[in-house]
Symmetry: C2
Subunit: 343 residues, 2 copies
DNA sequence: TTGTAAGCGTTATCAT
DNA sequence: ATGATAACGCTTACAA
């Protein structure tokens, strides 16, 4: 039973000190003779040595691991974002740990604790229940994903949800719709607000009276969308168009429409938000507001790297911190689920 | 600038030795007086101490982190599997690092190297390019996900791809189809084989002559499916039904059919495999073969835990190892994209 | 350019 | 039931 070789073994084999080995391995080769580098590398080969990142982390206080905390990895929106994050962070040598809170408060907090215990270098999070102060208390450099308010102490990357909603509503309005339903996710409290605000602002601007029976609040999944639409259809004067807070809800609504024998877009227009893969696979393909998911992830990583390059521990506490927000604009992805109202 | 408190600080505060603190923290409280436990815990509270997992790992040679290596996290199949893995592993206190190889050989290998350097406790992988021996060389307990052959040294969890294919073909055959196209993914070399074998076996059993022009091999995405179907439709006698190796390909094919003005299922039946979310969102909803994705992930985690509970380092090398394979049966999810052929 | 030696924060071993 | 002390494998002043 041979244990794994350490730098000491390598040092012996190469006939140098472990310091020198360390210098070679960390690429700090600047101050090592070329010939010595060779000898060390040969020894590494021969022994099949692998650098022990754990020991290194203990010494350097950097793990090169970051955490990405998300509410629901099975919503296709997030994997696309995650890829942007990963592509960028990997390039800098960071590994990305996924934390899937499943909308659960305790889990979300547990993950923060995990990040602390494991001394992860940074956190990227779409906060669902966790507060600004709780995030600050981790003392870990953190960047938020999602257009959230109430987080004055952090950089935020997201999309312009307010604008996205306006875009969708304008599209419907221009087609001639005046009675427009809104399907919101129940859990999505914070961004949900910005959608709602955008909705009411829009109605006001267009001088359309607000009808609360047109606003549905349902669980954030396909079935939620289905239920919401069923209820909307049962109104004495149903809407001629519906905006759903995301594509999953919209697809559920679309299915409910099919099931109810309502033809989309002839008798009902439906718009989603996100532009996930499935949006283009429905019939009719879903008109939706596209968010640059990959870019969002990438930009979030970029912000994080800024924090990491400076003094990791101090970035939050010390110098006056002005949070940056990068909200990507969204674009209308016009497909087949919207058309002028029939009458 | 106060550094983070260590067990030494806690020990001082509580008036005990750091050994005792360690005992309390690791839950090894068996041999500590209740009163002492109290004192230590109070000190922990007061100082805001968090256990340093890195230092602990260095000493114990366990990180409580496992790696999940996947080819494409944006294929909705995998997040569902991942959730099963995470739910199970979390319960045992493990964190899960995602590695997204994006079908790239170098990246996949790089991730193995990462797992070694970081001393991850185990690897869960859907191997795309990596070989049995390369996996063995990591000396890290590993379990495979996916129905792969050529990996004699590892436990495998997956689904019965061969059976799934038979199921789909039988369904089409029973509907009356005799000319059935097959759309395979180009990259998916190994499981692709088992689908192909199942396909040819089936034809043979039913005494249908094999027509190679009915077998398409395309990139593993929506566009691949689209292209494949276009080509199949351009044949002098096109197939009356098509089986796609996964739902993404099937959805691409479905779209191509729409675009070509071919009505599904009236003029063409399409079957997918996986039953991802989008499969039920298409019109017509896709008939497909459902795999128990969450269960697959959970079972894989279960196998892994077996390895972890025994001597981690020895599980591969020592005692005679009989690999287990747990292949879940798949079920036909009959929806709207299949019907008897028209003639 | 290279080596010596002192940590990093734990846990394991052995005493007491 | 508790404590002293030696690892764990690496990085980093400081010396040479």
């Amino acid at each position: 039973m041979k244990r794994r070789p350490t730098i000491i073994d390598v040092a012996k084999q190469a006939g140098v000190s472990k310091t020198t080995v360390s210098r070679v391995i960390t690429g700090d080769g600047a101050n090592v003779r070329e010939e010595t580098v060779q000898r060390v590398q040969e020894a590494v080969e021969e022994l099949g040595y692998t650098h022990n990142a754990v020991a290194s982390s203990l010494r350097t206080a950097r793990t090169n691991i970051i955490m990405l905390s998300l509410p629901d990895i099975t919503n296709p929106f997030w994997p696309a974002v995650a890829r942007g994050v990963q592509d960028r962070m990997e390039k800098e040598g960071y590994a990305v740990v996924f934390a899937n809170s499943d909308w659960d408060t305790e889990r979300e907090k547990m993950f923060l604790e995990m990040a602390r215990r494991n001394r992860f270098d940074a956190i990227l999070i779409n906060p669902v229940h966790v507060s600004n102060d709780e995030l600050k208390a981790t003392h870990i450099p953190t960047v938020l994903i999602g257009s959230h308010e109430g987080f004055p102490d952090f950089d935020i990357v997201g999309s312009n949800t307010y604008g996205a909603t306006q875009l969708a509503l304008t599209h419907l309005y221009d087609l001639g719709h005046r009675r427009i339903g809104l399907i919101r996710g129940r859990r999505e409290s914070r961004p949900g607000h910005s959608r709602l605000r955008s909705y009411t602002d829009f109605l006001q601007e267009k001088q359309i009276p607000l009808d609360n029976s047109l606003i549905m609040r349902v669980p954030f999944d396909e079935n939620g969308g289905r239920q919401a639409l069923q209820q909307l259809l049962s109104l004495s004067t149903p809407p001629t168009a519906v905006l759903a807070a995301n594509d999953i809800l919209a697809i559920g609504a679309l299915q409910a429409a099919h099931e109810a024998g309502i033809s989309v877009p002839d008798h009902l227009s439906i718009v989603g938000i996100d532009d996930i893969f499935a949006a283009s696979a429905t019939t009719p393909p879903l008109t939706t507001i596209a968010k640059p998911q990959y870019e969002i992830g990438k930009q979030a990583a970029e912000f994080l790297l800024d924090h990491l390059e400076k003094e990791p521990a101090l970035s939050l506490s010390k110098r006056p911190f002005t949070p940056r927000r990068h909200l990507f604009d969204c674009t209308l992805q016009q497909r087949g689920s919207t058309a002028p109202p029939i009458n």
